[in-house]
């Protein structure tokens, strides 16, 4: 089992955090994991992307030529990284940030209105957590329990009052992904 994931969007959207949550959860599951960031010199508004790899075997390269899953949170990222999903792979798109859809028919593309869903969960900033939930809802790995524990440990260390809204955002993401994948398959 090996999963190579690329996550991309604007700086400030929580791209790097999403990748770190995923890598941490994989480690909690007893898997090997790597996280490698790539971002411009800007703090916010510039481009940000990162790769997370998790596997039950020792990981070599932290990057790949094509990815099992690509998660994008803005239009330029979809244009740039949409072609980097492997055939039959998964593309998770933040629908609220990406007006022009993906044209590929050889991948599973899931559109998630991440920002409105996060707002409904009581924490608009957690659009990234909604998308992470969507990933879990489809892939089933890392385990939901581990991701929840990572949120408790990492978010809870500084902002304990944000644990619950984040866990809620995660659940919303899991649910919508399951709904939308069953729709795709039907």
């Amino acid at each position: 089992m090996k999963e190579e994931v690329l996550i991309a969007g604007f700086g400030g959207q929580g791209i790097l955090t999403m990748g770190q949550l995923m890598a941490n959860a994989a480690m909690y599951d007893g898997l090997y994991a790597t996280w490698f960031p790539s971002y411009g010199p800007e703090m916010r508004g510039g481009t940000a992307n990162c790769t997370t790899v998790f596997s039950d075997e020792e990981i070599g390269s932290p990057i790949a030529a094509i990815y099992d899953t690509v998660i994008v949170m803005n239009q330029p990222s979809l244009e740039r990284f949409g072609p980097k999903v492997r055939k039959g792979g998964l593309l998770i798109i933040d629908e609220s940030m990406v007006p022009i859809r993906c044209h590929r028919t050889d991948v599973t593309a899931i559109y998630v209105p991440a920002s409105p869903l996060a707002r409904d969960a009581g924490i608009e900033r957690a659009a990234n957590v909604v998308l992470l939930g969507a990933f879990l809802g489809i892939k089933g790995k890392p385990s939901v329990q581990s991701v929840e524990n990572v949120i408790r440990d990492l978010v809870g260390a500084k902002r304990p009052h944000l644990i619950e809204p984040n866990l809620k955002a995660l659940q919303v993401g899991i649910r919508i992904a399951q709904e939308r994948t069953s729709a795709v398959q039907a």
């Binding site: 790597t34 490698f36 075997e57 070599g60 390269s61 030529a65």
Partner: protein
């Protein structure tokens, strides 16, 4: 006369990677692992000047070292840093600096002086693209600089090349051990990918760190005390015969250090072709090897851990058993020269490399190996 300059004959040091690491397993950034490793390895003084992509090292140490009663100093330049290292080391302290390629270049004069004065110290180079200011992307183009000089004169540095977060934590400590044992500078040579990557590693919390070891350094310039002579840290020998003798002493020490050679291998038992790579390119190379193995191709990985001393005997033996070796580096061909010297024409040695900060994907390396096999 100073205390005897010839290193005492002892067994090769057991570099601690086999010992069960203490601490807890967590995701650690490479640069953080290096900083923690320096503290765990007994670093008493850090001198440095900021440069991307290694800034987490001084950032973290600037907070941690004063708390632990150790010395952290941000110098006014790299030239000053290396000379502060010279002074601290002459006084018998475990001293370290960290920088990235252009910053290391600025330190070369001081490094040559330190080597000439036979002093131990540790330098971490988180390599970035060059030459010149280059960029802040990952590169391995300082292999020559670390292994073949950089500064002037006939000196050597032991060079350790980690390939994951755990080694990033362990190698600064190993570097201090080796530096003190052979009284020479030791490099930890890594790059911008390993520096900024997060990976699980078992590392101690700050509270668990042991104090720096109390070491007897009879050569240190800590006051004459009851000694019959003064200790002097110096690299100036104006009489040619004296300098010749000094150089011979240095070389004798370097010959002793040759036994510290270390390397790592994967799938070599039945390998017909081998990818030779260090650091991050060994990680990419390992993925490429795994890819090729899944297709039934007999490919293995050879990873030098010490770049100096270079594992030339192991490579020479390997060359007799395989059909070809591909050296893969993030530069235009540096380690490949040492591979060719070691192999000495016994099997074909080819090179694949990309310079300037682009990290090739495993597939790219695998393609080159496939071409070689045709």
């Amino acid at each position: 006369m100073p205390e005897t300059m010839t290193p005492t004959k002892t067994k090769a040091s057991t570099v601690k990677s086999d010992a069960p690491p203490t601490g807890r397993k967590r995701l650690v950034k490479g640069n953080e692992a290096l900083a923690l490793g320096a503290l765990a390895g007994g670093c008493e003084c850090f001198f440095g000047y900021p440069i991307t992509p290694q800034n987490e090292i001084p950032e973290l140490l600037s907070g941690w070292m004063p708390k632990l009663g150790r010395v952290f100093l941000q110098a006014e330049s790299e030239v000053a840093s290396i000379n502060m290292l010279y002074g601290a080391s002459a006084c018998g302290h475990r001293a370290m600096t960290s920088s990235s390629s252009p910053g290391i270049s600025l330190m070369m004069e001081g490094l040559s002086y330190i080597a000439g004065a036979q002093l131990p110290c540790v330098l971490i180079n988180v390599m970035r693209g060059g030459p010149g200011l280059g960029n802040i992307a990952p590169s391995q183009s300082d292999y020559f600089q670390a292994c073949k000089g950089g500064g002037h004169g006939d000196y050597r540095c032991i060079v350790l090349a980690p390939w994951n977060a755990q080694e990033m934590f362990e190698f600064p400590g190993s570097a201090f051990e080796l530096a003190d044992r052979y009284r020479m500078p030791v490099f930890v040579l890594t790059d911008a990918v390993l520096g900024s990557m997060l990976e699980p590693a078992t590392v101690p919390d700050l509270e668990q760190l042991p104090p720096p070891p109390k070491m007897d350094k009879p050569w240190a310039t800590t006051g004459r005390g009851n000694r019959s002579h003064k200790n002097v840290a110096n690299s100036l020998y104006l009489v040619p015969e004296d300098l010749t003798e000094h150089n011979e002493r240095l070389q004798a020490g370097y010959r002793e250090a040759l036994r510290e050679v270390r390397y790592d291998t994967r799938y070599l038992e039945d390998a017909e072709y081998v990818v030779a790579a260090f650091g991050i390119s060994a990680r990419v190379g390992y993925s490429a090897v795994n890819m090729l193995r899944k297709q039934g191709l007999k490919v293995g990985l050879f990873r030098p851990i010490t770049l100096w001393p270079f594992p030339e005997k192991a490579l020479a033996e390997l060359a007799r058993k395989v059909k070809g070796i591909l050296t893969f580096e993030l530069n235009c061909g540096q380690m490949v020269e040492d591979v060719r010297l070691a192999v000495n024409g016994v099997c074909p040695v080819e090179f694949y490399g990309v310079a300037g900060g682009v990290l090739p994907a495993p597939e790219d390396v695998a393609n080159v190996v496939r071409k070689m096999m045709k």
